[in-house]
C-alpha cells in the first residue's frame, strides 16, 4: 500500500471530489482511530478536518496564536448566553492537539448507569478493556509519575491528603515529556501523544488521505444509506469558504467531529433527526474554578498542567457529583477567568505567580439534569443552549466550599472566588459566604473542556441516535465515533474513552461497512 498524505485547503482547490470506501469526518481521538483501523483493514479512507494542519514547529506556546489557531470558533466558542466558555480543539489532531493529557478509562459506575437507566447493553468494562489496552499502548499512557506534580498540582494533592480525600496521580499520554506546561497550546516537542502523531500517522501510512481546512457542511443520504459528505474548503487566513469538496463513500461514513459538531452536522443535513434526540442531552462537565493565593510562588504556568485528580465527591448519592483537577495558569486564560475590569482586575492578575487554581468538574447528566441543546442553522452557525439546573447549582456551590476547604488545608493565605464580586475567604468561618453569594449564568466564571453527548447510544431509536457500536439507527452505513455518543457525561476526562470507543466501533465498521 502506498502511503497517503495530509492535504491543506490550498492544495485541494483543484480537486473537487474523491471517492473512497470510508469518509471520516474529524481527525481527533475518534476520527484518527477509526481511520487507522479501517485503513489497516485495507479500506480506502478520506479524513476531512475543518481545522488547519500544524506541527510542533508551529507551536510557539503563545496564547495569542494558539487559541485562535487550535480551538473551535477561534477560542470564542461558548454557550449562547456566553456563561460557559467552551474549550474544544480544532486542527489536524482535533482535541488531542490541545488536550492536557489526562487519561482515564470510563468509570464502571458510569457504564452501569448507561446499562441501567439508558438501556444500553453490550458495553461493559470487559468489552472495552482490550480496546483500552490497545489505545493506551499507542498513545503511551503512563501509570502516574510523582515527578509530574508541579506546585499547582502539589497544593491539590496536599490539601486533599490532609482532608482524607484520596488524591490520585493522573495517568498521562506522554513520551519524553519535559513538563513545559503548554499542552493546551500544542506540544512543541511532540512529547504529548496526540492523534496526529499516533493513529492519524498510522492511517496515513496505511494509505489514508487527510484533507485539512475542509469543514463538513452536509451528509448526503439516500434512503437508508449515507453516500457522501459535502465540505467547504476554508481559506486558512480568513476561515471563509473558498471552494467546495465532495467525498463520496462507497462503504460508509464515520462522523467524529466531536460533541456539538457531529450533532450539528446531522441537524444541518436534516439526516435522521426525526426522533428529536439529535443535539439533545449535550453535556459539558461544567467547570467551576477557584483560586487561592500562597506566600510562596506557585508558577502554575509551568509544569505538567494536570497530574493530580480528586474523585472523593464524584458520587454524592442523590446530588450531582464532582471531581477536582487543576488548570494551567497562563495570562490570557487567567485574564478571562478573573472577573471585573480595570484596576480591580489588575490587582488580582498581578499576583498570578502566587495563585493556585483548582477546578471542580460537575458530573452532568447522571441525575435529573438534561444537559444542553445544540441548534444548527443552514448557514453553518452552531448554538448551544445550556441551562444550569438547580441540581447543578447546588453542586457548584458545594464544590466551591470543598475546594476552599482544600486550599486552606494546603496552606493558602487566602482563597478568592470568581463570582462577579469575588469573595475572599481566609478561614473555615468565612465559608458560609459562598452559599449566600449569587451563583448563575455570568455571575460566576464557568468553562468546559469536556464536550459529550448530543447523539447518544441506546437500543431505543426514540430515545437515542446510534446503537452500542455507534451505528445510526436509521442509516445502515453511518456511524458516529466521538464523544457525542455518550448518554451522559463520564465523570472523568473523556479523551481516552473516545479513543477506545472509536477503536471498538471501527472493528465493527470494517466488517459491516
Amino acid at each position: 500500500v502506498s502511503a497517503g498524505r495530509i492535504f491543506t485547503g490550498a492544495e485541494i482547490a483543484d480537486l473537487p471530489s474523491v471517492e473512497v470506501d470510508f469518509v471520516v469526518v474529524g481527525s481527533g481521538a475518534g476520527g484518527a482511530t477509526a481511520a487507522a483501523v479501517l485503513a489497516a483493514a485495507g479500506a480506502r479512507v478520506a479524513v476531512l478536518e475543518e481545522g488547519g494542519h500544524y506541527t510542533r514547529r508551529d507551536f510557539n506556546m503563545q496564547e495569542s496564536w494558539a487559541y485562535p489557531a487550535l480551538y473551535q470558533e477561534h477560542g470564542n466558542r461558548a454557550t449562547d448566553d456566553l456563561s460557559i466558555l467552551i474549550l474544544q480543539g480544532r486542527s489536524v489532531g482535533g482535541g488531542t492537539t490541545v488536550n492536557w493529557t489526562s487519561s482515564f478509562r470510563t468509570p464502571e459506575r458510569t457504564l452501569a448507569l448507561w446499562a441501567g437507566k439508558h438501556g444500553l447493553s453490550g458495553l461493559d468494562a470487559a468489552t472495552l478493556a482490550p480496546h483500552f489496552d490497545v489505545v493506551e499502548k499507542r498513545i503511551d499512557v503512563g501509570t502516574g509519575d510523582p515527578d509530574d506534580v508541579n506546585n499547582n498540582n502539589r497544593k491539590l494533592q496536599e490539601g486533599a491528603a490532609k482532608l482524607g480525600w484520596q488524591p490520585q496521580l493522573i495517568h498521562r499520554s506522554v513520551k519524553g515529556c519535559a513538563r513545559l506546561g503548554y499542552c493546551g497550546m500544542g506540544c512543541p516537542l511532540d512529547a504529548k501523544r496526540t492523534s496526529r502523531t499516533t493513529f492519524l500517522a498510522d492511517a496515513v501510512a496505511a494509505g489514508a488521505n487527510v484533507y485539512a481546512d475542509c469543514r463538513a457542511r452536509l451528509v448526503e443520504t439516500d434512503r437508508d444509506r449515507a453516500r457522501a459528505v459535502v465540505a467547504d474548503v476554508l481559506d486558512r487566513a480568513s476561515d471563509r469558504p473558498r471552494g467546495r469538496f465532495v467525498a463520496y463513500a462507497r462503504r460508509g461514513v464515520v462522523l467524529a467531529g466531536g460533541a456539538i459538531n457531529s450533532p450539528a452536522l446531522l441537524l444541518r443535513s436534516k439526516a435522521g433527526t426525526g426522533s428529536g434526540q439529535v443535539g439533545r442531552r449535550t453535556f459539558l462537565h461544567p467547570t467551576v474554578p477557584l483560586i487561592a493565593f500562597y506566600d510562596q510562588p506557585i508558577e502554575g504556568f509551568y509544569g505538567a498542567p494536570q497530574s493530580v485528580a480528586v474523585h472523593h465527591f464524584a458520587d454524592r448519592g442523590e446530588r450531582v457529583g464532582y471531581f477536582f483537577e487543576t488548570p494551567p495558569i497562563h495570562p490570557m486564560l487567567a485574564g478571562l477567568a478573573v472577573p471585573g475590569f480595570g484596576d480591580t482586575h489588575r490587582k488580582i492578575i498581578e499576583r498570578l505567580p502566587y495563585a493556585q487554581a483548582t477546578i471542580a468538574l460537575l458530573i452532568d447528566g447522571h441525575h435529573d439534569d438534561e444537559g444542553g441543546t445544540v441548534e444548527a442553522g443552514g448557514d453553518g452557525r452552531i448554538k448551544l443552549h445550556y441551562p444550569l439546573s438547580a441540581s447543578l447549582r447546588e453542586a457548584a456551590v458545594a464544590a466551591l466550599g470543598d475546594m476552599a476547604r482544600l486550599q486552606l488545608a494546603a496552606g493558602a493565605r487566602e482563597v478568592m472566588t470568581l463570582h462577579e464580586t469575588p469573595l475572599v475567604l481566609r478561614s473555615e468561618a468565612d465559608l458560609g459566604a459562598i452559599a449566600a453569594a449569587p451563583f448563575g449564568p455570568n455571575r460566576h466564571t464557568m468553562f468546559s473542556a469536556h464536550q459529550m453527548g448530543g447523539a447518544a447510544m441506546g437500543a431505543d431509536p426514540n430515545r437515542s441516535v446510534v446503537d452500542a457500536r455507534g451505528r445510526h439507527h436509521q442509516f445502515e452505513n453511518l456511524w458516529i465515533a466521538d464523544g457525542s455518543v455518550f448518554p451522559t457525561s463520564l465523570g472523568v476526562n473523556p479523551q481516552l474513552s473516545v479513543y477506545a470507543l472509536a477503536h471498538l466501533f471501527a472493528a465493527e465498521i470494517a466488517r459491516a461497512g
Partner: protein, 191 residues
C-alpha cells in the same frame, strides 16, 4: 426611538432563553441608526480594519481602554491603545461566523448609545464622549445587570479586551510571567 423598543420593556424570559446571540436586544440595537453620528474617534486604527467600521472601532477602543488596566492608577501597565487591543479584536472577529460578527457590531452600537446609557446607568452621552468614571459606571451596570442579556454583552466585551491584552508579551513582565521557555528546534528533515 419609540418607548416600545426599550430593552427593559422586552420580554425578559425571551432574553434568558435566547441569550446574547440572536437576542432581541441586538436586533433592537440594529435599529439605532444615528448612534454613530456623534461618535468620537479617539484613536486611529493601527492597520486597515477587517470587520469593523471606523466608528465601531472607536467604540471598541474606548471600551477596551476601561476594561484593561492601562488607564488606571498604576502607570507601568501599557494602555489598550498601545497594544492595539481594538485592532486585535477586529482581526479575530473577522474570522468568526459572519452572523457572530454582525451581532458583535450591533453590541458596539448598543454600547455607544446614549439612550441605552441613560436607561442602564443614567449616562445620556455616547460612550465615546462620556467621562471615564461614567464609562466605568455603564460597564458596571451591564456587568451587574439583572438582565441576562446585558451581562452577556458585558462579558463579550470584557473577555475580548482581556484576551487581546493579556496575550500580549508586553504585559508578561508586569504579571511576573517569564514567558514560554526556549525549546530546541526539531532537527532538520524531521516532521
Amino acid at each position: 426611538v419609540r418607548p416600545s423598543e426599550e430593552p427593559v420593556a422586552l420580554d425578559r424570559r425571551r432574553f434568558l432563553r435566547r441569550g446574547l446571540f440572536g437576542g432581541a436586544l441586538l436586533v433592537f440595537a440594529g435599529s439605532l441608526p444615528f448612534v454613530f453620528r456623534t461618535t468620537r474617534r479617539g484613536s486611529t486604527p493601527h492597520a486597515p480594519l477587517k470587520l469593523l467600521s471606523a466608528d465601531e472601532h472607536a467604540v471598541l477602543a474606548a471600551v477596551a481602554a476601561r476594561i484593561v488596566p492601562g488607564d488606571g492608577a498604576d502607570t507601568r501597565w501599557p494602555r489598550a491603545e498601545a497594544l492595539d487591543c481594538a485592532g486585535k479584536v477586529d482581526a479575530l472577529m473577522a474570522t468568526v461566523h459572519p452572523d457572530v460578527g454582525r451581532d458583535f457590531r450591533r453590541l458596539l452600537r448598543l454600547c455607544e448609545s446614549g439612550f441605552v446609557g441613560l436607561l442602564t446607568a443614567g449616562s445620556p452621552r455616547p460612550f465615546t464622549r462620556a467621562e471615564p468614571v461614567e464609562q466605568d459606571a455603564r460597564l458596571e451596570a451591564w456587568r451587574r445587570s439583572r438582565f441576562a442579556l446585558l451581562r452577556s454583552g458585558y462579558q463579550a466585551l470584557k473577555r475580548l479586551a482581556h484576551a487581546a491584552y493579556y496575550s500580549s508579551p508586553e504585559v508578561y513582565p508586569l504579571i511576573g510571567y517569564p514567558g514560554p521557555p526556549v525549546v530546541p528546534q526539531p532537527p532538520a528533515g524531521t516532521p
